[in-house]
């Protein structure tokens, strides 16, 4: 198991390295010079050159790549061209919204999906199964920003239980912060929960068809016992993959929801960075997201190995 984790960790660092090269190269080749963007259309060429020097855009590609990587490893992400503050500050301010939101949404999605998928599988073909399948279909089909607006309309404007948007900051109290993330988390979780519930159901049904379930029944286990003792853990294996993919999506893909609820998250930061040619921000945030995705993949791999002994090799 340790050896498995170690090999996974090495391949994880290699993927990170490869990703950093790709991100750097893409930012190099895309058109748009931050210096000329900052100085406007009528800037003199000398002024642009001077600003490029100041921003560190004039060195050789290799030296710039190395200084970028070196800086990031020591926690220095560079200075934003437009905000004129360290990128790390910008990220830090926003990650405390995006990360809790992603985790919150994922928790909700999992907490809804597991029991729902389980009930649907256990009552295959009965009314409750058909009802669940129909509503998850709806959950996938409804666009989450529309659903978000509906939530705002009902719970913020009519019932006044939640605020319609914005984030007060964690320093105002944990519960207040959590409360303002609740509607966005629900809006994000609904389609994810629908997908996860369907996968949970089909995975569990596949597992219940396996020969070892019949063996378990022949041992004297009841239907319920075969599900809890044998089917669940086996059915978890494909479900874990989806959970890992969903977390990555929730962390970076919440741009629309962040806009609907006026949340200053990572999605909005990267969007602004792109429109303002603030390339150092874009580079660093993308790298951070890649790091998050790869770390989650690593955790999912470990979870796999824990769930499935066939993946850990006997020493």
């Amino acid at each position: 198991m340790l050896r498995f984790a170690a090999t996974r960790l090495i391949s994880l660092s290699l993927s990170l390295l490869a990703a950093s090269v790709v991100i750097f190269a893409v930012i190099e080749v895309i058109p748009g010079d931050p210096a000329s963007f900052m100085l406007g259309l009528n800037a003199e060429p000398d002024t642009v050159m001077a600003l490029r020097d100041q921003l560190g855009l004039n060195g050789s590609i290799l030296s710039r790549y190395l200084s970028w990587i070196g800086g990031m490893l020591s926690g220095d992400f560079g200075t934003s061209y437009t905000y004129r503050v360290p990128v790390s500050e910008l990220i830090l301010a926003r990650i405390w919204i995006s990360l809790p939101l992603a985790i919150y949404a994922l928790l909700l999605s999992t907490l809804i999906a597991f029991p729902v998928g389980l009930i649907a599988a256990a009552r295959r073909g009965k009314a409750s199964d058909i009802g669940i399948m129909a509503s998850t279909q709806l959950g996938i089909a409804v666009p989450n920003f529309w659903f978000a607006m509906l939530l705002v309309l009902v719970f913020a404007i009519n019932l006044r239980w939640f605020s319609a948007g914005g984030f007060p900051g964690w320093d105002q109290g944990f519960w207040l912060g959590l409360k303002s993330l609740t509607l966005p988390a629900i809006a994000l979780a609904l389609p994810q929960a629908s997908i996860l519930a369907r996968i949970m159901r089909s995975s569990l049904l596949d597992t219940l068809d396996q020969d070892y379930i019949r063996t378990a029944r022949a041992k004297g286990l009841s239907r319920r016992q075969t599900i809890t003792r044998h089917a669940l853990r086996n059915a978890m294996i494909p479900v874990l993959t989806i959970i890992g993919m969903q977390f990555s999506f929730l962390l970076a893909g919440a741009i629309i929801i962040e806009n609907v609820f006026f949340l200053p998250g990572l999605g909005r930061l990267i969007f602004q960075g792109i429109t303002q040619r603030d390339l150092i921000v874009v580079e660093s945030v993308v790298m951070l997201l890649v790091f998050a995705v790869i770390s989650v993949t690593f955790l999912v791999d470990l979870a796999y190995a824990m769930a499935d002994p066939r993946l850990r090799r006997r020493k």
Binding site: Y212, A216, A218, K219, G220, L221, R313
Partner: protein
């Protein structure tokens, strides 16, 4: 008094009668063999006794186990009985165990579920039971997972968890069908000794008459959901009163009439063939160690000859087959067909000289194509599809005993035997020199198998075909081949004329194989 007494057991799904008036008695310490072909109701009889029939099946009649009628028990009462008084093992050892639970936990679970022991005691008893079935603690600690064991070892684990509570009745449904002959012999020995020592009764379900002949005290022959004949084994095999019993018996030992015309011209030559696979890497950057699946194999197949290749699973038969078909490259030696080299880059004209029929008649066809297109597919190997391809497909179907109309049907409309005929038609369509038959009759019932063997023998005589007949079933190889190769661990250990190898095997491994093969008593 008998332990199990079944009277007029019937089972229906909707209006379809699956079992009709099944009646038999089984005494303590007795082995009761149930034989029949697929769909005869053997497994359904077992499932009905276990109360594990599909939810919508309606069961009637009586089945008393020590005076308790199993048919009318509630699901809760049945759960208390299953694994405790009556246990069952199944055909597929590779999938019958939970892959994410250790073997120790799976055996112990039987005891824990029935509240007969706490976890610690249960694991202790599990250890004893695993020892009993021949899995000693040194090599097979309780924390082993099923994927670390071979098929035979997994079947032993299944037996251990079935006998953990010393049930009165053990039902074994084709327990050795998926195993090699030598492993089969060991498992049958184990079952026999368990019956003798633990005093339980064994209901052994199998399609193989020879298996029951060697072990059962009583035999029931089933056909279409009915027991057509039941009685003491020796008497059944001696008298064979029912025509179906006679038919089964004849089909089991069927030898097709052949008129071999072997020319002394080599068609396929394999010289020092080596095929290695990469094993899993031991570290992230280390080179994967090679594993030689085929290790220096040489033989020649002459025109018109039927050559058999026998060996147990993992011996390299299938790897060699893929190399002969030119699907995979060799790492050493060479294969030539009609004097031209065989390999992944061989020309289509050479490819059309060798065709193949695989084991699984269900998996080897595209379910969305009609038979005409399936059979005509090899024409893609030719530069132009012949104008009369439709007629050629019809002829090929007729030559394998199908009719022209079948061209417009889909493959799911056919039975296993019919599908195998269509597979043979597909192999014949290009008039190849050589057909590779990779376990081509292994998945078929005995009577269908006999028909397909007759067909193959007839085609080989009529069309002057050569066969490379690959099988783990020695009886079939003996019936249809002129010469046989015995393969073990990637090497050919013995070769010679079939009759000679079978009557006077020279290599110890061949002797072991032949000794392990169950034999039908002489009628």
């Amino acid at each position: 008094m008998s332990l199990l007494s079944v009277k007029n057991l019937c089972l229906a799904i909707g209006t379809l009668e699956i079992l009709r008036n099944i009646s038999f008695n089984l005494g303590k310490g007795e082995v009761f063999g149930v034989v029949g072909e697929s769909g005869s109701g053997k497994s359904m009889t077992a499932l009905a006794l276990m109360g594990l029939t599909p939810g919508f099946a309606i069961t009637s009649g009586r089945a008393e186990l020590d005076g308790t009628d199993l048919i009318n028990l509630s699901e809760g009462e049945m759960c208390a009985l299953r694994g405790n008084q009556i246990a069952m093992i199944f055909q597929e050892p590779m999938t019958a165990l939970n892959p994410v639970q250790t073997i120790g936990d799976q055996v112990a679970e039987t005891l824990i579920i029935h509240k007969r022991a706490n976890r610690r005691e249960a694991r202790k008893i599990a250890r004893e039971k695993l020892n009993r079935v021949g899995l000693p603690a040194e090599q097979f600690p309780l924390d082993r997972y099923p994927h670390e064991l071979s098929g035979g070892q997994r079947q032993r684990v299944s037996i251990a968890l079935a006998i953990a509570l010393r049930p009165k009745l053990l039902i074994a449904d084709e327990p050795t069908t998926a195993l090699d002959v030598t492993t089969q012999a060991q498992i049958l020995d184990l079952l026999k000794s368990l019956v003798a020592e633990e005093g339980m009764a064994l209901m052994l379900i199998t399609h193989d008459l020879a298996v029951v002949a060697g072990i059962a005290d009583q035999v029931a022959v089933m056909q279409n959901g009915e027991i057509v004949e039941v009685g003491p084994t020796a008497q059944i095999f001696r008298q064979m009163r029912h025509p179906y019993t006679r038919q089964l018996f004849a089909a089991s030992g069927h030898v097709p009439a052949r008129d071999p015309q072997t020319e002394d011209a080599p068609l396929l030559t394999v010289t020092d063939a080596v095929r290695t696979y990469a094993m899993p890497r031991s570290g992230l950057f280390s080179r994967p160690p090679p594993f030689p699946a085929v290790n220096g194999v040489s033989f020649t197949l002459n025109k018109g000859e039927n050559l058999g290749l026998v060996g147990e699973s993992g011996c390299g038969k299938s790897t060699l087959t893929r190399a002969i078909l030119g699907l995979e490259p060799l790492q050493g030696g060479q294969i030539s067909l009609l004097g031209q080299p065989v390999g992944p880059k061989m020309p289509n004209s050479l490819r059309s000289a060798v065709q193949v029929v695989f084991q699984d008649p269900y998996g080897s066809f595209n379910p969305r194509w009609k038979v005409a297109r399936l059979v005509a597919e090899p024409f893609h190997l030719q530069p132009n599809v012949p104008a009369d391809w439709h007629q050629q497909v019809a002829d090929a179907l007729v030559s394998v005993g199908m009719v022209e109309r079948d061209m417009d049907k889909y493959i799911h409309e056919f039975s296993g035997g019919q599908r195998q005929r269509i597979a043979i038609a597909r192999a014949l369509i290009l008039r190849p020199e050589l057909i590779v038959l990779d376990e081509a009759v292994s998945a078929l019932d005995v009577s269908i198998r006999a028909q397909i063997l007759d067909l193959l023998a007839d085609l080989s005589d009529r069309l002057d075909l050569s066969y490379l007949f690959i099988s783990h079933d020695l009886g079939v190889v003996r019936a249809i081949t002129d010469r046989v190769l015995v393969m073990k661990d990637g090497k050919i250990v013995e070769s010679g004329p079939t009759g000679q190898v079978f009557t006077n095997p020279q290599h110890a491994y061949t002797q072991q194989l032949i000794a392990a093969t169950p034999r039908l008593p002489d009628a």
